[in-house]
Symmetry: C2
């Protein structure tokens, strides 16, 4: 070996995916498809239509709408070969806003749309945070309050229900309109102070008590106000209704009541500390929490935002309610609670033959199984001994094996064996589809 190659030889290519991203091997992709189908089935029941946009958008779209921190530190952006500044989408809402704005007059309102795009953020990879993740986005635009709020929470509940997750989750609900009422009207803060205080309460869970109290002191509020803020942030719904008696808390209370009457007494819970970001939301906000104290994180959330199309239309307004739910956090939640779905086996039938002379019969049997019964069938490419055939079937995760061996073939027959029950039947090569033993074995196979 020459010394040179140690320093100048090409680096070996890495077999790992790019940092913070995942390869989806067939089992992983099957799980993602499982989620996508659950989402799409539930959302179709409520009349939500799927949309999608391109992976790249103009950089300006995010510079204008997305939070400062994301654009400055997390957005993937670059210049294309024609000098256009473009970015890989870090969230779906700007694309939604652009697409809806382009057809604002022709789209029937309210608009019910969903999407399950992959989104990119430059992050330090850690539990629950990756550079590429898939996020369900559900939005109801141009609808009426509180029907839209109730519908969006119902849809969130139905999604959780379809994943058997409902008993483990709590929807913590608040209203930004109510918070503003309390902070501005009752505590006499100006809009700027109110915003800073909301931001602080939003971030409280990530701080130590000392840090929180320090930042609270920085706001230079009077002792009375600080005391009231403390009281406020521990307030239950009954008390809030009694103390403030404003339309904002009454509307929220009615939303919570309706959700709980449909899904059980404790699904929706009033939580005055839920703020849900700071730029978009103007009405109801919510976050779904794992009730388990071991996993005290928001799984997903959303709320009402005003005027989605303001960036594109000076004189048009379109308010909405929506939420986003990412695949990484959701999978971790499902794993924690033993809710990962059974994704089934990869293959229905593996067809093997002992002599090359039986190959064309093997192909004919397979074609009939695919065409008439939609079974997934792989035919061996070479003659195999019985032991090797079973080994192949197991490696391919097949539910059953068909064997064409000397003995049966001489009687124009083959054997079909169900690998989970161990049952096997002999069938004639010609006309096996019509045999009653075939039909009952097929039933059992589909159940196993």
């Amino acid at each position: 070996m020459s010394g040179e190659s140690l320093f100048l030889g090409p680096m070996p290519l890495s077999m790992k995916p790019y940092k913070g991203t995942r390869d989806f091997y067939p089992r992983d992709k099957k799980f993602l498809r499982f989620l996508a189908e659950k989402f799409s089935n539930i959302l179709n029941l409520y009349g939500y239509l799927e949309y999608d946009g391109p992976m790249l958008e103009s950089f300006d779209l995010y510079a204008a709408k997305t939070g400062q921190e994301i654009v400055e530190t997390q957005l993937y952006h670059f210049e294309d070969r024609g000098g256009r500044k473009v970015a890989i989408r870090p969230e779906m809402t700007p694309t939604l806003a652009r697409m809806v704005s382009a057809k604002i007059d022709e789209l029937p309102k309210p608009i019910r749309w969903f999407s399950f795009p992959n989104l990119w953020r430059y992050e330090r990879p850690q539990r629950g945070r990756l550079r590429e993740h898939w996020q369900l986005n559900v939005d109801l635009l141009g609808g009426v309050n509180p029907q839209s709020e109730i519908e969006i929470l119902s849809v969130a509940a139905e999604l959780l229900k379809s994943l058997k997750a409902l008993p483990f989750v709590e929807l913590r609900v608040n209203s930004r309109a109510f918070v503003n009422f309390v902070f501005e009207k009752q505590l006499s803060l100006d809009a700027k102070q109110a915003l800073v205080l909301e931001k602080l309460i939003d971030a409280k869970a990530k701080m130590s008590e000392v840090e929180y109290l320090g930042k609270l002191a920085d706001l230079k509020l009077t002792d009375t106000v600080v005391e009231k803020v403390e009281l406020y942030s521990r307030m239950g719904l009954e008390e809030a209704l009694k103390v403030f008696a404003c339309p904002e808390i009454e509307a929220l209370s009615s939303v919570i009541q309706q959700i709980n009457s449909q899904y059980g007494a404790n699904l929706a819970v009033f939580d005055p500390t839920i703020m849900r970001g700071l730029d978009y939301y103007t009405g109801m906000v919510f976050e779904a929490f794992d009730k388990s104290p071991d996993n005290p994180r928001a799984m997903f959330g959303g709320g009402r935002y005003d005027n989605l199309v303001g960036l594109f239309h000076e004189k048009k307004q379109l308010s909405g309610v929506g939420f986003g739910m990412g695949d990484v956090v959701l999978s971790q939640f499902l794993e924690t609670h033993g809710l990962m779905p059974d994704l089934g086996q990869d293959l229905d039938v593996y067809v093997a033959y002992q002599s090359d002379d039986f190959q064309s019969s093997a192909q004919k049997i397979s074609i009939q199984l695919r065409e008439k019964h939609f079974l997934s069938v792989v035919v061996s490419q070479e003659a195999q001994k019985i032991k090797s055939a079973f080994k192949s079937a197991n490696r391919l995760d097949s539910t059953s094996v068909i064997l064409l061996s000397e003995d049966e073939f001489s009687r124009n027959c083959f054997v079909w064996k169900n690998l989970s029950s161990g049952e096997q039947i002999e069938l004639p090569i010609e006309g096996f589809l019509a045999q009653s033993s075939f039909k009952s074995a097929l039933e059992k196979l589909k159940k196993s």
Copy 2:
């Protein structure tokens, strides 16, 4: 208006998608889902499993494997915030090679995988070519020849069949091994000359006759060789078998025969001018052509390539056969031949009510229709007059309307109207699911 704002004011944000890309409004997305489901259903029957990888890959992965032209002029690449050189995937094969290499020993062979990723190339947008398109990739790795060749062509045929496209398409088949045999052994060209000539024949369809002859002359072949090349490129299968009688053309002939015996005499056709690119392919190559003379373009194609994993493993080999099929060219083909699918209506039932007092009944009816019969149902958010209810139902592309109006409500009933047949029935609000008139109306709705 100050003069300043004319020059310094922010540019209005464009509502168009980034150049060369598409927005997928619900109808567009539904078509893409239709394709994805067709693909996935057919491929599952043959035991192909779906995989996927991240949108971004290391730049080096393409620098090493992808054609020079693509990397230099068409690849989207940039440095991430950590100084890593990354690229947006322009094709799926390098990702496939990386993923398979990483698990080369544990994956059961042959590997049958497919994917339907979005791919990016910096191109001047034109008919059939966009910067972002979706491409089905099907690969069979580590299989036996000619069974793998036959299976891949069968799968391509099944996909076309499921789209009702088979009668309009011809699979033009050749073998790079055969071409090499002819050019090197029979015409005594060296490997370099053979490659240049293959490249020229590959590009011939895009040139004028004069241009082609000029480039042929540049190769400085003897007149006899030029004459033989001309004869070669017009040769039919029978003649090729007679003249060359080598194992390469005999193997190809047997593949063609088997495909045609299964799918009809003229689906697979020998075409000695099909070369299918120049870097990957080493055995059978094919391109699917629209038989219509108005659309003389390859719709998709593929072939056998050697050693997919060579970049990652010095001592391992994995050969494969596969093809790629893009959504843009495919949709244009389907449109041309009137084969675009009926994507159905957006909604099954639109539920309207004449008075707010009926709203909770409307909700209860909807929940039952969703839970018991998986119908997609939208409930009006406000009381509506009958005329306005029908208008909403039409705008939402609903198959039927449920109306709760004063008259029927006073008798604890509602009306369900099928909008395509015009038939309507009256049903009791309580227990309507058990009514026989409901059941037969439901049957008709599902068929319409």
